[in-house]
């Protein structure tokens, strides 16, 4: 879902940068200094996750992990994803520097939305927690795809065709991400429940 350089028009790029910078500043303030390492680890996981390719016929899709980041970090996922994407652009030329604003927004904003909506459900425990974790992984990728298609549409590539292609291609990734988020949340709930806002268990 990284949009490459030279695809979007200038107003879209500027809008992306404006939104991302504003949200990143908000996110930076929200980082609890005691949990900086958590932010760093999740940013690192995102950085590496995008290298894991899910083969899918003619298309090429990769893991995103933005659902997990949104659940754990909330608004702080903006600076985390911004750094991850910036380094991917510099080291691997994924995406691009001019389009970094848009790419960050399309991945981080859905993550924040899912985090805000679903994190409270994690407190319930049991099936509700599992369902919320899966939904976070699944929906974050879904909405990222929609926002990517929207960015392409605003530039003039039409909305329906890229939207259908992106969503169709990413359905396996959505399911896989849902599962990964599910297991990650289960793991974190046992070893470090505080970062999910849960009470420590003994």
């Amino acid at each position: 879902m990284h949009i490459a350089e030279g695809v979007l028009n200038a107003p879209t790029l500027l809008a992306g940068w404006g939104l991302t910078l504003a949200a990143t500043l908000v996110g930076l303030r929200r980082i609890d200094p005691r949990h900086v390492m958590t932010v760093a680890m999740l940013a690192a996981a995102f950085f590496v996750a995008s290298l894991i390719h899910v083969p899918l016929g003619p298309a090429s899709v990769h893991l995103v992990l933005n659902g997990l980041l949104g659940l754990v970090l909330g608004w702080a996922c903006f600076p985390a994803l911004f750094c991850g994407l910036l380094l991917q652009a510099l080291f691997f030329q994924y995406g691009g520097l001019s389009v970094l604003g848009v790419n960050t927004f399309t991945m981080a904003f859905p993550a924040v939305l899912c985090g805000l909506a679903l994190r409270p459900l994690l407190l319930r425990g049991g099936t509700v927690r599992a369902g919320a974790a899966f939904a976070a992984g699944f929906l974050a990728v879904l909405f990222s795809g929609l926002f990517t298609a929207l960015a392409l549409a605003v530039t003039g590539e039409g909305f329906l065709t890229p939207a259908k292609l992106i969503l169709a291609g990413h359905v396996p990734v959505m399911v896989l991400e849902g599962l990964i988020t599910l297991f990650a949340v289960g793991f974190l709930a046992k070893v470090q429940p505080e970062i999910l806002g849960l009470r420590p268990t003994a």
């Binding site: 490459a4 695809v7 950085f47 590496v48 290298l51 090429s60 750094c83 691997f92 990517t148 070893v191």
Partner: protein, 214 residues
């Protein structure tokens, strides 16, 4: 310590993912490179090893003004072969090949004038052949009267033929070498470690800055 162990576990998990990721690490962006094989432009596009960009739109542009010279589509192997259009002879600043794979995937490849301009200027006549009012003798020494064979003209024709044959053979042999040289790099260990290093470095700087404020 309770805090250290989960952090260590997470770090180990992350390291494991890195080890697993590198063999699976396949490029996500669409890659394009092109070279000339004789008088043919060959372009190859894909998403990394073994995943060609099938039926992706390609455009050949004049770099000087962005005007479109030729359009085409890659085949099932991600390859597009085309003869250079005659307009390319006027493109002194180079050509630009643009690939649009849809869904926001786009790539460019620049072709320098030195790679193709010589194709339009005709075969070279060896310097030894200095005499003669006209440098071109297309009729050949065996044409027209069919009487005495002009040794100088014969030599020129042989030289031209050999030169053309050698150029073609060299181009054919060099094509795979050029392709190897032009292959874009796949994400590798250095990139991953570099990125991870920066992430933790930035986090450290941030933590330091915040600790100083408090």
């Amino acid at each position: 310590m309770r805090i250290a162990r989960p952090a260590l576990l997470s770090a180990l998990w992350l390291l494991l993912v890195c080890f697993l990721a590198t063999p699976l690490a396949l490029a996500h962006k669409v890659q394009l490179f092109a070279y000339l094989e004789g008088a043919e432009l060959v372009s190859e596009s894909g998403f990394g090893k073994g995943r060609p960009c099938k039926e992706c739109g390609l455009q050949l542009l004049n770099r000087a003004d962005g005007s479109l010279l030729l359009q085409g589509q890659s085949d099932a192997q991600g390859v597009w072969r085309t003869a250079l259009p005659p307009e390319a002879a006027q493109c002194g600043e180079g050509l630009l090949l643009v690939l649009d794979a849809g869904e926001g995937h786009r790539a460019e490849w620049k072709i320098a004038p030195e790679e193709y301009l010589h194709l339009f200027s005709g075969p070279a006549v060896p310097a030894a052949q200095a005499s003669g009012p006209t440098a071109d003798a297309p009729a050949g020494p065996l044409a027209a009267t069919g009487t005495a064979v002009d040794p100088a003209a014969l030599e020129a024709m042989v030289a031209r033929t050999v030169s053309a044959a050698v150029s073609e053979a060299v181009a054919r042999e060099l094509a795979p070498v050029k392709k190897l040289l032009l292959q874009p790099e796949e994400p590798d260990w250095r990139g991953i470690l570099g990125g991870l290093g920066y992430i933790f470095g930035l986090a450290g700087i941030y933590a330091y800055a915040r600790s100083r404020k408090a």
